[in-house]
Symmetry: C2
Subunit: 245 residues, 2 copies
């Protein structure tokens, strides 16, 4: 696609994830980016007036950003969020944004760490709101994401949050537990220990805000915590001597 | 080395680990193997009468095997054990074997899983008993193991057990906890979750006997369990609402 014929996209939030995904989006779109805290090439109003608007902001900032962009959104615009949860962010956006825009939840199952050598073959969950019929524009967005080489997986927001309570919740919870252990220096390790520490190391570079989103805001994560704690207690508690008969 | 000029080695125990390491040993030694429960090419007496005798048996069987081989060992023989601990197995062997044999503790930090594509570059801990001066024969054994491409790391039996309480203890304890969770089917995962499950999957194929050796018989593992449980409780317990002032 020649630059002039590319569709326009407003990217709001140019932090760790926004900055990471911008060059990938620029393979398809003419991107105009805004971030109140960083140097950027568009005002909020300008970025929010594009036919596709991507919100790369933490869940905790979403309501505030939605209110700020609402007056600038065009009728029929597609507003895309990229949070690690789906039920809560989509509800926040539906409450704050005008009815004349369409919402699309996406969750790239990768980030600056796992996508540093390219995003081809990595997974993205595509979650249209449960009560909405996806438009031609939303279907086109799915095809464009596939065109970036991503494996696009469609699921409902609830199914997404149930699965991610395990996939992300378990990884981040174990990552936090292992990182808190203050292990001694261990120069001589096994392959499985090295692999365990690599998995834990990947998530420990994520932000505290993302840790809280994944391990506190997901309504299904409390079951993961309870089961993990129960198994930890079973495996780790010292055995009590059997009572005398 | 031509087959006829190779030194002789008796391998006692041809189970998962003995069977795995035999072809590697045969690159250096003429190996005669014995296992009471498997087809083998030597009697116990024959295998135990070689100048080097490797015991590839679980810790729980070590005392019994040591008593059985004791009458057949030659003066000056080098008896090598390959257990995942060092303090306890070396004490068992010293108590059961005649003073005229030399003991050498080794711990290959790999196994049939991690060594399935070859052992070059993998680590082996070499632990001469604390009270013994390593002989020319023990030093030669170290050079031979390096000749197989292994990274041979020398440490005392106590230092070994302290480190392995973390390296193997933590991996196996977390492996057991995660394997007990009965997670739902999760078709859409992240790279770090995949890596976590690979680490856990590697150790979950080890035997129950090895799990007990690593997580119960190591005198330093109780501290690992206590710290892991304390951090798990801190991270996983639901926050209590603050008391009213």
């Amino acid at each position: 696609m020649s630059p002039s014929s590319r569709p326009s996209l407003g990217l709001i939030g140019l932090g760790a994830f926004g900055g990471f995904c911008r060059p990938h989006l620029e393979r398809i779109f003419t991107v105009r980016g805004h971030d109140p805290a960083l140097p950027c090439d568009a005002t909020l109003a300008e970025a929010a007036s594009k036919p596709v608007v991507v919100l790369a902001v933490p869940v905790a900032r979403l309501a505030e950003v939605a209110q700020a962009i609402a007056p600038h959104l065009r009728p029929g615009a597609l507003v895309v969020e990229v949070c690690s949860l789906k039920l809560h962010p989509l509800a926040v956006l539906r409450a704050a944004l005008p009815d004349h825009v369409e919402l699309l939840g996406t969750h790239p199952l990768f980030g600056p760490q796992s996508g540093r050598d390219g995003i081809a073959g990595l997974r993205l969950a595509l979650c249209p709101p449960a009560d909405a019929r996806p438009s031609a524009r939303a279907r086109l967005a799915g095809r464009m994401l596939r065109g970036l080489g991503l494996e696009v997986v469609r699921m409902s927001p609830e199914e997404h949050d149930r699965q991610m309570a395990w996939v992300q919740g378990l990884t981040h919870l174990l990552g936090r537990i292992v990182a808190s252990l203050e292990m001694p220096e261990l120069p001589h390790t096994t392959s499985s220990f090295d692999q365990l520490l690599r998995a834990v190391g990947m998530v420990s570079q994520d932000s505290e805000a993302l840790f809280r989103t994944i391990t506190e805001d997901n309504p299904f994560v409390s079951e993961v915590k309870a089961r993990l704690l129960a198994e930890a207690e079973t495996v780790l508690r010292p055995a009590r001597p059997a009572l005398a008969a």
